[in-house]
Structure formats: structure tokens, C-alpha cells
Amino acid sequence: MPDNWGYVFSAYGLAAAALLVYWRRLAGRAKILAGRGAPRRGRGQDR
């Protein structure tokens, strides 16, 4: 059977991309929260 490295790399690449995007989102939110410091009022009602 041919080796299909393209498929292997796209699978790993997709997984890596997804994880990286999620991790960066988390890091971004953590940074914002660290910058805030002071407590704030609660947020809105039921949507």
C-alpha cells in the first residue's frame, strides 16, 4: 500500500492546529484576567 504521508501529516497538523488555537485562546483570557485585578460587577440576565 502506498504510504499516504499526506494524510498522516494532515491529521497530526489539524490536531496540532486545533490544540494550539485553544491554548492561545486560554492564554489570552488568562492575560486579560491577570491584567484586571480589581473585582467587577456581575454580568447580565438570562439570555
Binding site: 489539524l14 485553544y22 454580568r43
Partner: protein, 221 residues
């Protein structure tokens, strides 16, 4: 708190190291599989991903029960922080399974038992996250999510068997399953290393997400 940050960084570094080791095992140490060729290496991504997803949703169950019994927000944060990476890993499982399937079976999707079960799991927990996103009041959100999370977890074995039997009706099981059988030692070792790597990565993401949720709760209070 400095200790918490330090622990998080250590966990993150451990996870990265384990991932590197896992990749090495998957591409270097593990042999080229006789029947499928190198495309079988996708399994070192696919199988650990689904195992990690199961772990995640088990933790959603734990957090859900914990919240209902104690009403302490920490349990709800655990449920949320486990569900998000859980859905992510489930998505990776499905995508890698599908990509593996194309050269192997010729189509991007087959309604094979594992892929279908995992897809149903994905639908259940995406619904869980959507529910959480649509309720703002913390206690109501936690309680509603907990009920859905508990039913979702209890449903997992039922879904697994129903899909498996349904599948057996329509097609005999193929030899080319995602796991080769019997499993040769190097393949098992590579799977193990990658599974550990994914678990560490999940633990890191879980802790980070929980911390963010904790900070958000403090700021909103």
C-alpha cells in the same frame, strides 16, 4: 499565586516533553505497519485522543455530581474545564479517524461503530457547551449543565452498545480495524507513550481552564 503558576508551568513543560517523546515513538520507534503502511501511524493520534476524551467526560460527570451534592462552584468549574478540552479531543478523534479512513476505506466517512459513537458523543457534549453558553445565572447554569452532563455520561455505554449492534447488523466487522490485533510490542509502547502525553496535555489544559474560570468567578462576584 506563585505556586499555582509554577505548577502549571511544570505541567505544561512535562506535557510538551511527553508529546515530543510521543511523536518520536509514533514516527521513529514504531515500525511501519505491514498491511496498512505508514498511514497506520494516525492511530497514535486517534486512539489516545479518544481515551483522553473519555477521561474528560468522566470528569464532567464527577464535577456534575459534585456540584449537585455540595453546591460548591469548584465542582462546576471542573465540569466546564473538562468539557471544553473533551469536545476538542473528541473532534480530533473524529477528524483523525476520518482522515485515516480515506486512504484505507476509500471514503471520508463510514458509519463504523467507533466513529459513529464518537460522533454521537461529540453531539452530546457540544450541546452541553451550548447549554452552558445560554444560561448566565451561575447556579441555574451549573444545575442544568450538571443534569445534562450526568445523563450524557450515563448514556455513554448505552450509545456504545447500540451503535455497535446496529453496525453489526449492516456489515461484518473488518479486519482493518483501527487497532491491529494482535498488538505488537513496539506499537503498544508507542500507543502508551502517546496516551500518557495526551493525558498530561489534557491535565494542563484542564488546570488552566479551571483557573481562568475561578478568576472569572472572582471578578464577577
Amino acid at each position: 499565586m506563585a505556586a499555582r503558576e509554577l505548577a502549571s508551568r511544570v505541567l505544561g513543560c512535562l506535557a510538551v516533553l511527553a508529546i515530543i517523546a510521543g511523536l518520536g515513538a509514533a514516527f521513529g520507534y514504531a515500525p511501519r505497519e505491514a498491511v496498512q503502511g505508514n498511514v497506520q501511524r494516525i492511530m497514535y493520534l486517534h486512539v489516545p485522543a479518544v481515551l483522553t476524551a473519555y477521561l474528560a467526560f468522566a470528569l464532567v460527570f464527577v464535577g456534575s455530581v459534585g456540584y449537585l451534592l455540595t453546591r460548591r462552584a469548584g465542582w462546576d468549574r471542573l465540569a466546564l474545564a473538562a468539557a471544553e478540552p473533551g469536545v476538542l479531543f473528541t473532534g480530533i478523534t473524529i477528524a483523525s479517524g476520518s482522515i485515516w479512513g480515506k486512504p484505507t476505506w476509500g471514503t471520508w466517512w463510514t458509519w463504523d461503530a467507533r466513529l459513529t459513537s464518537t460522533a454521537v458523543l461529540f453531539l452530546v457534549y457540544v450541546g452541553y457547551l451550548l447549554l452552558r453558553g445560554m444560561v448566565d445565572e451561575p447556579d441555574r447554569r451549573a444545575r442544568a449543565a450538571a443534569v445534562v452532563g450526568i445523563l450524557g455520561a450515563a448514556n455513554m455505554p448505552i450509545v456504545h452498545f447500540s451503535v455497535k449492534w446496529w453496525r453489526a447488523l449492516h456489515q461484518p466487522s473488518t479486519i482493518l480495524g483501527p487497532e491491529p490485533s494482535p498488538i505488537a510490542a513496539p506499537i503498544a509502547v508507542a500507543l502508551l507513550i502517546n496516551w500518557i502525553a495526551f493525558t498530561l496535555l489534557f491535565a494542563y489544559l484542564l488546570a488552566a481552564r479551571m483557573e481562568i474560570a475561578r478568576l472569572e468567578d472572582t471578578h464577577a462576584g
